[in-house]
Symmetry: D2
Subunit: 278 residues, 4 copies
Amino acid sequence: MIPKNQKMLDLVEKEHKILDHGFIRIIDFMGGDEAIVQAARVSYGSGTKAVSTDKALINYLVKHKHTSPLEMCEIKLHLKMPIFVARQWIRHRTASINEYSARYSVLSNEYYIPELNRIQKQSKDNKQGSGEPLSPELANKVKNLLEEDAKKCYEDYEFFLSDEVNFARELARMNLNLNYYTEFYWKIDLHNFLHFINLRAHPHAQYEIRVYAEKMLEIAKTWCPFATDAFENYVMNAKTFSKTQIEVIKKMIKGEIVEQENSGLSKRDFNDLDIFTK
Amino acid sequence: MIPKNQKMLDLVEKEHKILDHGFIRIIDFMGGDEAIVQAARVSYGSGTKAVSTDKALINYLVKHKHTSPLEMCEIKLHLKMPIFVARQWIRHRTASINEYSARYSVLSNEYYIPELNRIQKQSKDNKQGSGEPLSPELANKVKNLLEEDAKKCYEDYEFFLSDEVNFARELARMNLNLNYYTEFYWKIDLHNFLHFINLRAHPHAQYEIRVYAEKMLEIAKTWCPFATDAFENYVMNAKTFSKTQIEVIKKMIKGEIVEQENSGLSKRDFNDLDIFTK
Amino acid sequence: MIPKNQKMLDLVEKEHKILDHGFIRIIDFMGGDEAIVQAARVSYGSGTKAVSTDKALINYLVKHKHTSPLEMCEIKLHLKMPIFVARQWIRHRTASINEYSARYSVLSNEYYIPELNRIQKQSKDNKQGSGEPLSPELANKVKNLLEEDAKKCYEDYEFFLSDEVNFARELARMNLNLNYYTEFYWKIDLHNFLHFINLRAHPHAQYEIRVYAEKMLEIAKTWCPFATDAFENYVMNAKTFSKTQIEVIKKMIKGEIVEQENSGLSKRDFNDLDIFTK
Amino acid sequence: MIPKNQKMLDLVEKEHKILDHGFIRIIDFMGGDEAIVQAARVSYGSGTKAVSTDKALINYLVKHKHTSPLEMCEIKLHLKMPIFVARQWIRHRTASINEYSARYSVLSNEYYIPELNRIQKQSKDNKQGSGEPLSPELANKVKNLLEEDAKKCYEDYEFFLSDEVNFARELARMNLNLNYYTEFYWKIDLHNFLHFINLRAHPHAQYEIRVYAEKMLEIAKTWCPFATDAFENYVMNAKTFSKTQIEVIKKMIKGEIVEQENSGLSKRDFNDLDIFTK
């Protein structure tokens, strides 16, 4: 067996704090860069000999989306996060999960309250995003109401579960707010782990899931440095251009001046090309 | 193409009301009993000729867990349910889903309040279940608090989203309770649809998901009557007995009197055999 | 229910011949462009109102890889192909399948023999590809040997299954060659159907699977014209450039002359940029 | 991190020979009985305290099909098997795989020839099975033809790949027989590993896949002894009886004599009950 990556072993069981009560804790892992190479060399046989180094081979695999060797690495995390974040998380179907059940057990009195500067306005240009912070007075008002409501709902939840009432746990839990914390074990392979990071560390992802994804990216760097490096260059920080956008880039390289109107591109597609000129 | 089942076509777009504000609405479906038979006959070729009728063939497939032909049928539903129910629902990973997003849009002021006789005590023998109803006074007290908290939380949610505050939707939503309704489109194949029903129409499933599963069982009967009949007989109402339980059943049939102590079975395993004698 | 696309209905049950004995036959389908829009509008709620047309909405979804609404469409095909092609095909795990079983039934005497101009040399620059045709004499020699071996193996297979020998079918089948034809039913959603096409209609895919994928692309155009159009522009004919490649493109647009040596790019990554200048 | 199971560590990298040229080799593994318990206790919280021992908890999980904690264990194998076996193997979709590619590389001259006593007749009562051995003369004749054909096909494959012809590998491979060996890396979680064993170690499974599944059962016993014990008792050696069969068993226990004709059961369903009386 390939010896385990010592830096990664050192991270096992360490709790990385996220948000006000959340965390990521690595429980176990299997494989690493060497396991990717090992699997790829079985798969491509002598065909991989031309690619001399492990790093170059991994770059090749990631660039060309030959992702099956990346599935040969596996990680298991213990996660704690607000329920509204968990609801997005669980949309990733290619993972194994064991969540704390509020049918069986009592949820703790822990809820997420954003920092004041995270109490932000609805974004003007992003239907699903947030923008500038609210004024300090408004932000405080929002914060106080969030706290007041969470407390009142938990108080009633506790009352429901008290000996006096003895309301069934499976029903009482419905009174809690979506900012209450839940926790679960989550096991996923490296390919799907990086795919998760790609979607959830994206600037358009909600801040409250992004902070988890960013920590996971750091973990990935320790776990599989070559694969994560390739992922950052060829996937996460890469850009895809449509057939029609490529035609316009060609013209730009030839020195032609292209206006949106005569580019054949929609405004959005045209604006994507700003990254080359701004 | 096999002609579509007319009784099922008649159900399309009809809304089946569930709980106080929820529903199941069939959007579309593909295949039926004939599609199962068609696929099985390709798969087993002349090997299926011995099984003379379609009904017998489907019984054979379901009994022996040859489930791949059942995957050849597909159904798409529009569902509305409380968030705490949706959280269980979404644990079934082999389905496609598009959920209403409270990051993009405003959630309606609709929350689930159980009927008075559903406001039940924690079950004594089932860690995750509910038992007898609470006394009328306590039940009313619980109901009123559930309503009070849901209303207050929505009131503040509306305030958050008002022009005055303009708090980002992706954050404001965290103030809502788990009994608020969500809705989604959900597409799944017949094999996984029946598997869902098997787990969620089970007496140990929570009432609030069971009522959906029971309606889905009715839909399945209209959609694929032979397959659903086989499923009820060989899966849903079947019982599995362990190797050691089978040894005890043998003795019981021979007329031997078996006590738990000398049966080699745990108490729970021994009690399973009550169904034969009580 | 949204009325079915008539052009697509006309294709159902038609057999599209592929290779010498293979085919693609549409058995059934569910949904289309309208079903994608319908699901997306549930998902994003009022957030989608800004995107005025169905075509623009689908472009947006495909460009930004919001693929879940595409999973709401489903297609079922009857396929016949050589076993060595089926072996690649079945690596796509997100599909349902019922294959003809040679344990139960006798395989027909049908095997794939490439056309003479497809009897090609090993590619020089592509470890897994093929290049120029062999000389006519060599090509004929290869063809004759392929036929001779396939015939001899089938002759012995028939002898094995004869009344005289009565060798078990599950064992006799092992004597057949990988160019023998198999057939199966295959059901998949649109998202995964297009993903399959993206990989298998790619110029680097083997010709014998590419011809199936190309026909499937035609089918997709009839089935979901908007989604397929978006897919061709934003996925199939799009190019992805790494972070470091984008830096070089920027320089090229500014009119700088960039050589591979000082570009910071590997040779392969540098050569990708040839599409802009050649 | 839970310390690794030493007996299992001792198995890593050991090659278990299967059939004439095949093998199973454990590459790596993650988790064990303790990891199942750890995940279950997070999931059910205080609800699991009543179940005092790890063994009792695992029995409970396996018996009631609470399989998600079993997904928390993962194993990676290096496998070598005949292609016709691999074709069945790969139908299990919930695994990761990297197979040796004959597009890239040359397949070795290794093919499966059954032992003489495995050269068996078509089963009389099992459409997909095999029965008594052929006569020694016929068995030898079959064996010789299998060898002759495999040799001839490989000889031509080698000729195709020779410098003289230089036929593309992706095409030349189609001349090989289905009894040629392939190899792959295969990663799967414990729940799906046991499910595979349940189907493929079954007496109705083909002998050539059963021998792999039986070795995998041994490996499972070393890896997760409690879970495998529970699996053998509650799943593998358990029997499921339909609703109508249970009614008949009830009568049998009451001492009634039940004939098939008046049992309400089909012949097959009635014969299942023979295990109690024979």
